[in-house]
Amino acid sequence: MFGTVKGREGRFVVAMRVLLGRLFQLILVLLAVTLVVFVLTQIAPGDAARLRLGPRASPEAVSELRHQLGLDRGLPRQYLAYIIRVLHGDFGTSIDGQHVSSIIGQRIGDTLWLLLGTLMFAVPAALILAWTAAWFRDRTVDHAIRLGVLLAMFLPAFWVGFLLIRLVAMPTGWFPVADLGSGPGDLIRSLVLPSVTGAILLTAILVRSLRSSLIDVLDSEYIAVARSLGVGGSTLIVRHVLRNAVGPVLTLLALNVGYLFFGVVILEATFNIPGLGSALVEASAKRDVYTVQGITLLFAAGVVLANILGETVVSMLDPRTVST
């Protein structure tokens, strides 16, 4: 109500400063990640050139390809060459001769849909459950939710997925169980079961911390003050409580992005969805070094970016980061 350009500007500037600092950190972490990925592919058994050409290729052809791929140069130069190629968006070619970047381009859509679907189910479910547990704290409902959430962390996602396929998809025929649909209706129908499966674990992780941060807010003196003034119902929840709980939720989500990606890999394998995760699993089974490198780097960048984004948004939401 009293928001002015001046106040927003202050917050914006601070957020930008945080963002810039974080971007620097992003570059450092990505450098570290490329190094890890590079070393990882160096210690992989087998010769990349030999793997490509097959066992019957002549030694001359192999050494020719080794030279083309730059494998005959020293490790530091190979690493530098690798970084430069990555910076140009060139992730190399797969064993089958496809550009890794075009593999990523084909497959990233399904993975993003799965991430979105999982979040769409998990965040509202986590908010409702955590809210209920916090509101009825130490009563039976709360104990039931806490126990349920604890146990849900130990349900293997792929197993839950198969149970849903067998018990829901097969008898009803409502949900396709392989691939994502192309039209909007088909897409949504094919996303339901994977998203619910992925959401179970994520919800469990979120509820555990969200409940205690909601309790902290509910117990705070400023909520007692709001109540004493007759503020109640949805106004109290939205304007006074949730605004203070958004920060912890975002921080928590950002921290768990790594597990979320792992979850998507499992979902793709369980529901036969050709996304980045299944591409990674296939490629690593085939020892397809460049494809593994590219996808791993992408996931790592995603995690780091999500962390930075989370931190920036949280600092924008918290007025205490502004000092005047």
């Binding site: 990882l40 962390m153 349900l155 996602a157 067998r166 499992i266 394998a269 791993t296 996931f299 995690v303």
Partner: protein, 294 residues
């Protein structure tokens, strides 16, 4: 307390009936579940028939019967035998994959909590980076490319990479827990008193600081073993870690996916085993947590 005691009479020791404490119920249920699994693993040959790799090719995908209480798989192997023998692999790898990071991480956490500012900052920044990496994705990439490797001491092929991977992933939790607990305990009055009283530094640490700081990480250890079981089976479901064909819950589920319509129990049973042992371990952890907090 008005009655006077005669000389030589012993003060009667009033023994309070043991009160049920919070968390006792969860602890009992969890201990029974985990205990049954451990017993089944130890006495696996007694409660199953034959070897988990024994094939009966004439009797493939048999439904549950008296001879095969959970039926047989595609190669005619007895599902129940494989299920029970899998406990040995999953629990052993999970226990080691949690115990090693627990010890290592706790030591690092204690050092960070007691050490100087720079050491502490270095350890914490490292753990920040470790936490912010998609380690399970790295793990798939690394073990997938390297292959399961060979056995190591009493470990079978594929088990060592899993244990190393879990160590890299979960030492951070213990390090952070112990660090903050050590810092909390260190500033307590009784620790100050002990230090001022002239107790040697290592005695203060081993008698006063560590015992009072270790509670939460013991709670987490039990949860972590359960999470490790889930992770091991998930990875072998993805074809990473424990080699295909080994009696392991995750690869059993992977093998059963093609016959989900007809032989659904081949998927239901191993998954239920994972969930059950996980819940048992979680209940033990939660029960201990209730006890510590009450």
């Amino acid at each position: 307390m008005t009655a006077t005691l005669k000389a030589g009479e012993e003060v009667p020791r009033t023994r309070q009936p043991r009160r049920r404490r919070r968390g006792d119920g969860k602890l009992a249920v969890g201990a029974v579940i985990v205990g049954l699994f451990v017993l089944a693993a130890i006495f696996a040959p007694l409660i199953t028939s034959g070897h988990p790799a024994d094939q009966d090719l004439l009797n493939r995908l048999a439904p549950p019967s008296q001879a095969h209480i959970l039926g047989t798989d595609q190669l005619g192997r007895d599902e129940w035998t494989r299920l029970v023998h899998a406990i040995r692999i999953d629990l052993r790898v999970a226990a080691l994959g949690s115990l090693i990071p627990a010890i290592l991480g706790s030591l690092i956490g204690i050092v960070a909590g007691l050490g100087n500012h720079w050491l502490d900052a270095a350890i914490m920044r490292t753990s920040d980076i470790v936490v912010s990496l998609p380690l399970f994705v790295f793990f798939i990439a690394l073990v997938g490319l390297l292959g399961p490797g060979t056995g190591f001491l009493f470990l079978d092929p594929g088990e060592l990479p899993l244990i190393i991977g879990f160590t890299v992933i979960s030492w951070v939790v213990y390090a952070r827990l112990l660090r903050s607990e050590v810092r909390r305990v260190r500033s307590m009055d009784y620790v100050r008193a002990a230090r001022l009283g002239g107790l040697p530094r290592w005695r203060v640490i081993t008698w006063h600081i560590v015992p009072n700081a270790i509670g939460q990480s013991i709670v987490y250890f039990f949860v972590d073993v359960g999470l490790a079981v889930v992770a091991i089976s998930t990875l072998s479901f993805l074809g990473v870690g424990i080699p295909i064909g080994t009696p392991e819950w995750g690869s059993m589920i992977q093998a059963g996916r093609n016959v989900i319509q007809t032989n659904w129990w081949l998927i239901a049973a191993p998954g239920a085993a994972i969930a059950l042992i996980g819940m048992g371990l979680a209940l033990i952890g939660d029960g201990l947590d209730d006890r510590i907090k009450s």
